[in-house]
Symmetry: C2
Subunit: 140 residues, 2 copies
């Protein structure tokens, strides 16, 4: 697993409220959005900040933190479904807890989730719809 | 405030245990560390993953989440203390809750903290000891 973070996904209680803060308030640019569901902001080159409805995020990750506790996922994107399987195995061998074995998601990607020793959640993702350059940088 | 994330800081219960996972297990490179206190990994260009003793992190940020809840901070680094003040004001005007007004930290930096609408914590930081290039990318 390369030392790389491609997405920071924040599980938010209201995407429109997050939009008012990050887009209208701070003036950050929207790169893609599904109104009320998810909003992507390309922050650094190769790094996307995703503001995602927390209910959808919990449904996909299979994790329900206590109310009031923010949900956050760091994502590591790879170039194929086979790479997802390989990286998940590598993380497991390194001592990660496997939260969710890789599955094909309704949005077309293939993703698995593991947790680091403190429970920080990493998604390992293959998304056939997005561009990953040779250096591994994701562009939405 | 530019759309940029410079640090992802995870508050960890044992830096040596995190080291065993990320460094020994996944094979990621250490770029700087203070044994048992903090460990920096340069992940993407311009993005640093920081594994920081959660007790120190809470002490600096002035935040004590319930036991068992991971601590995470996204940091936005700027080129001067005046820029920290400016960005904190901008975030406040955009609707952020100010968690901690900027102060000079024991490690020499000048930092403030705000929370987005869901309580996700951002640090706005000036660190005179670290390199920030013209594009804003931080290198440790």
């Amino acid at each position: 697993m390369e030392p790389r973070v491609d997405f920071i996904s924040l599980g938010v209680r209201s995407v429109s409220r997050s939009r008012a803060f990050y887009i209208d308030g701070l003036g950050w640019p929207v790169h893609r959005e599904v109104a009320g569901e998810v909003l992507f902001i390309q922050v650094n080159h190769g790094l996307v900040l995703s503001l995602w409805d927390v209910r959808q995020m919990r449904a996909e990750a299979g994790v329900s933190p206590p109310d009031g506790v923010p949900c956050i996922t760091l994502s590591h994107n790879v170039a194929s479904a086979a790479d997802v399987d390989r990286v998940m195995e590598e993380a497991g061998s390194a001592g990660a807890a496997i939260i969710a074995e890789p599955v094909t998601q309704p949005w077309g990607g293939y993703t698995g989730y593991f947790a680091d020793p403190d429970g920080f959640r990493w998604e390992v993702a293959y998304n056939p719809n997005w561009t990953v350059d040779d250096a591994g940088a994701v562009t939405v």
